[in-house]
């Protein structure tokens, strides 16, 4: 995926007098579609859906039914919420390996605040979000101040939090789990909004709605706001961005806050839905977020990608997770499958983008 940083020089805008006929039609729709970062992911998602719909061994072909849809949207939604935030950060040129473990940290903190300190659930949620924001600021400032790769900084954060999650939980509960009491004030309303279901007999998870909403908001931010312009710029070439007055540090810190707070949202949802949370929650998930973002067309080198693409990437992960179970395959192949998908997506995206860059003349 790191290929497109040296795009093929095309000769599209020419000096006057080069003849106007050839550009009367403008850029063809096909070429315009090919330029979209999410195209490869969309084609991939269709292919993966067809694959698992056809190998489905459940009675009544559950995978392609609405009940099956409930299953794979549920699986995809928590990846999706994170993938959108991680994609924005990746477009901004950085990684956050602590994003997975942050879901655990946030859920455990909520459990601690509610169960141990008897706080109102909503107040607990506000504190957890503020805590996550602070972790995001810390990650961002460390990356900017030390000028070290965010890969290393957030790897350190990841391990610090991972140890703390288990250590603190053991100290306080003598178990590896924090319960969230449903007697706590505000629990019912919070669970309805963050950990409940909708569309009665099928019971889709609330998280699906949050996922869709976040995808829409992120897409709008990326494409239609000044801040979105800055995200692409700091990821594409931070020196150039700085030279024209883009606040590079502020942009990156906000993006790190975005991933940490999205992780908090997912952690809160898990804690409310299952009325408790395991201390190992989220560990290892950070790679799924990155896979979803990259499958969705994000460049590892930054400056290119989309939120919709990342969501489609998360959907593919959801398809695979549920599809493999329904196909009655050994679930261990799930990882192999995702590895192959990642490999293919990287190849297809690179090819598509190269073609799109050279097709326009």
């Amino acid at each position: 995926m790191s290929v497109a940083s040296t795009p093929v020089p095309a000769q599209a805008p020419r000096a006057k007098g080069a003849g106007t006929d050839e550009r009367v039609g403008g850029v063809r729709l096909v070429v315009r579609l090919l330029q979209r970062p999410e195209l490869g992911a969309l084609l991939g998602a269709v292919a993966v859906y067809i694959l698992f719909a056809s190998v489905d061994s459940t009675p009544g072909h559950r995978f392609s039914s609405i009940a099956g849809m409930q299953n794979w949207t549920d699986a995809a939604s928590s990846y999706g919420i994170m993938a959108v935030a991680v994609a924005m950060l990746m477009i901004g040129g950085e990684f956050d390996l602590s994003a997975g473990v942050m879901t655990g940290t946030s859920g455990l903190l909520l459990g601690m605040l509610i169960t141990r300190y008897q706080l109102n659930v909503w107040l607990g949620i506000v504190i957890v979000l503020a805590f996550a924001a602070a972790i995001g600021v810390m990650n961002g400032l460390l990356v900017i101040r030390t000028k070290l790769p965010s890969f290393i900084i957030t790897l350190a954060t990841f391990f610090v939090l991972r140890g703390m999650n288990v250590g603190v939980t053991l100290l306080l509960t003598n178990t590896v789990r924090f319960d969230v009491s449903d007697n706590a004030p505000g629990f019912d309303s919070a669970q309805t909004i963050l950990g409940g279901t909708f569309l009665a007999p099928y019971n889709f998870q609330d998280a699906v709605l949050w996922w869709i909403a976040l995808t829409v908001v992120a897409t709008w931010i990326l494409n239609r706001t000044t801040f979105g312009n800055w995200i692409y710029a700091v990821g594409g070439d931070s020196n150039a961005a700085r030279a024209v007055g883009v606040p590079v540090a502020r942009t990156k810190v906000l993006l790190f806050m975005g991933t940490a707070m999205s992780a908090a949202l997912v952690g809160i949802m898990v804690a409310l839905r299952y009325k408790g949370i395991q201390s190992g929650q989220g560990v290892g998930q950070e790679f799924f977020y990155i896979i979803a973002a990259v499958v969705g067309g994000c460049l590892l080198t930054g400056g290119y990608g989309s939120a919709i693409g990342a969501s489609i990437g998360a959907l593919i992960i959801g398809f695979a997770q549920i599809g493999i179970i329904f196909a009655n395959w050994d679930p261990n192949w799930y990882y192999t499958f995702l590895g192959v998908i990642l490999f293919l997506a990287v190849g297809v995206n690179t090819l598509v983008r190269r073609r799109a860059a050279s097709a326009r003349r």
Binding site: P9, A10, P13, R14, V27, N229, G236, A240, A241, A357
Partner: protein, 289 residues
């Protein structure tokens, strides 16, 4: 040295430096350099590597302050605190790397850092239509007809990218345009295109400072020539006072070139190397060795 040639137009020049010096510790980066830039004129700053060209640009663009001398913008003495001050005074630099983001579209690059928005509060958003329209108009003034404003800047040629950077500087109020080695990384044809933009900017009434080490690029477009060598002013000429051959010779330091050509001749065992030595000698003295 001299304050340059007689002023061709009345009023103070857009930009003028008088005997400025800049020291880094005990290293003399620039010593007693004077030059002026008038609207509708191209002032070429020529010098080999290490001549002090970049120190001079950095002073003019507010990156460095100066230690001695005077710096006047439209007749008023200034002391810039940073690049932002220089930009506010209408002095814009188009850097060698152009400060464009290759993967971003032309219109996004054009307005990067100064995005036009409409709406208020949470509905505040980029005014895409306005941005595309202005970008198209401004590039058309430079003779470029953009077919697709969403095209990534990275797919443009070096010359076209230069045009985007120049058009952007002009649109955001530049009166003095400093072009830092705009042709150094380009081929012959692309260099020609950039020289065309230099002339266009001049014709639109801007004062242009064209920094280069190539007199063949400077001479055709320049109105004045300022030569730097080892941080000092070697000469300052109007076009009528000098010729391309003279400029080339002064720039490379005629004697030095002659010595180089002799050395090469001694070492020359291959005909190609002898040819190079002959050419050097020609450049140095104007006659074959």
């Amino acid at each position: 040295m001299s304050q340059g040639t007689a002023a061709s137009t009345g009023g103070p020049p857009l930009l003028e430096v008088r005997t400025v010096s800049k020291y880094f510790g005990n290293v003399i980066a620039l010593h007693d350099v004077s030059m002026q830039v008038r609207a509708g004129e191209v002032t070429c700053v020529l010098g080999d590597n290490g001549a002090g060209k970049s120190t001079l640009i950095k002073i003019l663009s507010g990156v460095h302050s100066y230690d001695e001398g005077e710096f006047l913008v439209e007749g008023r003495k200034v002391h810039f605190g940073g690049p932002r001050d220089a930009r506010a005074a209408g002095i814009s630099v188009v850097f060698q790397d152009l400060a464009t983001v290759p993967l971003m579209s032309i219109w996004r690059n054009f307005f990067l850092g100064s995005e036009p928005t409409s709406g208020y509060g949470p509905t505040r958003h980029l005014n895409v239509r306005f941005a595309k329209k202005v970008m198209r108009e401004e590039l058309r003034k430079m003779g470029i007809d953009v077919r697709d404003p969403d095209q990534p800047v990275g797919t443009l040629s070096g010359g076209e990218r230069q045009a985007v950077a120049i058009a952007r500087a002009v649109y955001f109020g530049a009166k003095v345009l400093i072009l830092d080695e705009p042709t150094s990384a380009l081929g012959v044809r692309q260099s020609g295109i950039v020289l065309k933009y230099v002339i266009q900017a001049r014709e639109r009434g801007l004062g242009v400072i064209f920094i280069t080490h190539n007199p063949h690029h400077a001479y055709p477009v320049g109105d004045r020539f300022v030569l730097l060598n080892r941080g000092r002013l070697m000469g300052s000429f109007a076009k009528s006072e000098t010729s391309l051959a003279e400029l080339t010779q002064m720039m490379a330091g005629g004697e030095e070139l002659e010595r180089l050509s002799k050395e090469l001749e001694k070492m020359a065992t291959e005909p190609e190397l002898e040819q190079v030595a002959r050419e050097l000698a020609e450049e140095a003295g104007g006659k074959p060795a």
